[in-house]
């Protein structure tokens, strides 16, 4: 069985294309009997079909994702850098160094702060706006579109807009000055503001995503449930606590995991808004630190170890969050 299939599949592609019509139960040039014989769903194990349907995908995925991950994990255990002629294996020395390195720990902390702010604030505002827009009609569908617009803009575009507004001589500060504020704050250059400005711009961009997911969740709540509750005398808040919020459990899961994954890898916004500053790493995230170490400082060994830590943290954090929220979904 397997053999006969294998021998045919070589001509499969070419033969199929050139054949004009469906030759009803006639043997084909390649010897296939297209009849109702038992091979049609059992032939899926054939190597030829695998080669045609899956191998291109698997090859590209391996070359562009899997192999690079393995390379990163290996290079993270070497001391490779541009200024050193010979590279040697140093096992976990890079990891040990990074755990004690003030700069790297700071970039880790920045990433956590930004992620927490973006996940919490985007969920909160997204839910509030979804509840506000939870009505039929032209106005509401227009407003939904408005909130979604930044989602389809490039992070570069959003960051350049944010920068032109929040820069020291930007549009916000020049407006403040003309209103009589003597020395408006440096929203992106003052260490006590910068990370919140960056987070705020990211919340603004991702908000529409959370709104759409929550609106879809709200649309899935049967109207009878809420009507019944309100007939039983439940106020709006009780109704929200007892029905709406539990019914949005899977929307919360989707939003939280998506926001976590996309915030944790943030690079573009940092590059455009602050270039890692103020100072050496006021707002530098782990992803930014990895790119800077790898390409500007030309230290692939150390950068790869950072990337390794990033990989482990991202996987652990998103899997844990997913499991916790999904268990919550079941409990509710």
């Amino acid at each position: 069985m397997t053999n006969s299939v294998r021998s045919r599949t070589g001509t499969d592609t070419a033969g199929e294309r050139s054949r004009p019509g469906p030759p009803h139960r006639t043997p084909t040039p390649s010897g296939r009997t297209g009849g109702p014989g038992g091979h049609r769903s059992r032939t899926w194990s054939s190597a030829g079909a695998f080669a045609v349907f899956v191998l291109p995908t698997l090859t590209l995925f391996t070359a562009m994702v899997l192999a690079p991950i393995l390379w990163t994990l290996y290079t993270g255990m070497t001391d490779e850098r541009a200024t050193r002629p010979e590279t040697s294996f140093v096992a976990l020395d890079n990891y040990g160094f990074l755990l004690g390195d003030e700069e790297f720990r700071h970039s880790m902390w920045n990433t956590v702060v930004i992620t927490v702010i973006v996940v919490l604030l985007t969920n909160l505002l997204g839910l509030a706006i979804a509840l506000l827009l939870r009505r039929q009609g032209r106005l509401y569908s227009l407003l939904r579109g408005v909130f979604f617009t930044p989602v389809i803009l490039s992070a570069v575009v959003v960051s350049v807009i944010g920068r032109s507004i929040l820069a020291d001589d930007g549009l916000l500060n020049s407006t403040l000055v003309s209103m009589g504020v003597a020395s408006p704050p440096g929203w992106l250059t003052d260490p006590s503001y910068a990370i919140y400005s960056v987070s705020g711009i990211m919340v603004w961009q991702m908000l529409g995503f959370a709104v759409v997911v929550y609106l879809a969740g709200l649309a899935g709540i049967p109207a009878e449930l809420e009507e019944a509750a309100s007939l039983d005398g439940a106020g709006p808040w009780q109704q929200f606590r007892a029905i709406t919020w539990p019914m949005l459990a899977s929307a919360l899961t989707i939003n939280t995991v998506m926001l976590m994954i996309s915030t944790f890898k943030v690079y573009d916004q940092i590059a455009v808004l602050t270039n890692g500053g103020p100072g050496t790493n006021g707002t530098a995230t782990v992803a930014f630190e990895v790119i800077r170490t790898a390409f500007s400082e030309q230290r692939p060994g150390l950068a790869s170890a950072m990337a390794g830590i990033m990989l482990v943290v991202v996987a652990a954090a998103s899997v844990t969050t997913l499991k916790l929220l999904q268990r919550r979904e079941v409990d509710l």
Partner: protein, 275 residues
């Protein structure tokens, strides 16, 4: 009681949306103003609207916009078409075969969904260097296709399960081979999934910054999104010109999105209502 407060919701909704829109309004309205007016009165409407900024971008001597546009169109089109076809084929085969190793391949690919680009971009540049595709368009396409395949396979997976097996069996009875069955029976049925994948990837690839910045590199020119970054100096003053560049760079993807919007939101919310 209820009717007396019924104006609160629309009014509040409009007010919140207006505040939310303010940055977009500032960026859009100042495209049509000379730079002196931008700083003096950023919120004022352009009266009369001036097209100087747009013309300036279109006639830049370095051609930053036009080369970027061409690169973006080529990179995005090739990437989304190749990814869609490859992902549909492999998702179909992997889901239908149902073998343990098919599930293993799917599992590994889904884990690839959350890999941050920063983790793999350095080795990717090495691999491209080794095969002579660094700083070339084919190289950039391969990188993007490889990176976005897990997402596309993930979207197709769910849809393949909804295609009735009877249709494929009927096609087989009629003598269609596996490849032909896929192209003429299954692939057309996967159209909603293909639309979602095309739109998502179209927007993502167009908007991508890090990968083209490092992979396409300076030699072959770059995408229009990287062009935005290049067009702003360290001390950006000429807001009007920058906003004009961004508007022109965003228009194609905006039109693309609006034309296919329905599918986009449908694809996005597909998972939200299942739970």
């Amino acid at each position: 009681m209820k009717s007396r407060t019924s104006w609160v919701r629309p009014l509040l909704a409009i007010a919140v949306a207006a505040v939310f829109c303010l940055p977009l309004y500032v960026a859009l309205v100042n495209v049509f103003k000379p730079s002196t007016d931008v700083v003096a009165s950023p919120l004022a409407l352009p009266a009369p609207p001036a097209l100087d900024n747009i013309e300036h971008v279109l006639s830049r001597p370095d051609g930053l916009f036009w080369y970027g546009l061409a690169n973006s169109v080529i990179l995005t089109t090739l990437t989304i078409l190749i990814t869609t076809v490859l992902a549909a084929m492999s998702a179909y085969h992997l889901v239908r075969s149902g073998r343990w190793w098919s599930r293993a391949v799917l599992g590994v690919m889904l884990a690839g969904l959350m890999i941050p680009p920063a983790v793999i971009i350095l080795p990717i540049t090495r691999i491209l260097d080794a095969v002579g595709l660094m700083h070339t368009m084919p190289g950039a396409v391969l990188v993007d296709v490889g990176y976005y395949l897990p997402f596309a396979v993930f979207v197709f997976m769910g849809f393949v399960r909804s295609v009735p097996r009877e249709l494929e069996e009927a096609a087989a009875v009629d003598g269609a081979g596996r490849f032909r069955t896929f192209w003429q029976v299954v692939f057309p049925l996967l159209r909603p999934a293909s639309a979602s994948v095309l739109i998502f990837l179209g927007v993502w690839v167009w908007n991508d910054f890090l990968t083209p910045l490092l992979v396409l590199g300076p030699g072959a020119g770059n995408t229009v999104t990287v062009g935005i970054f290049r067009s702003i100096g360290p001390y950006q003053q000429d807001f009007g010109a920058v906003f004009a560049f961004m508007l022109l760079a965003t228009l194609p993807v905006l039109v693309f999105y609006l034309a296919l919007q329905k599918h986009f939101v449908r694809g996005l919310t597909g998972g939200a209502t299942k739970g």
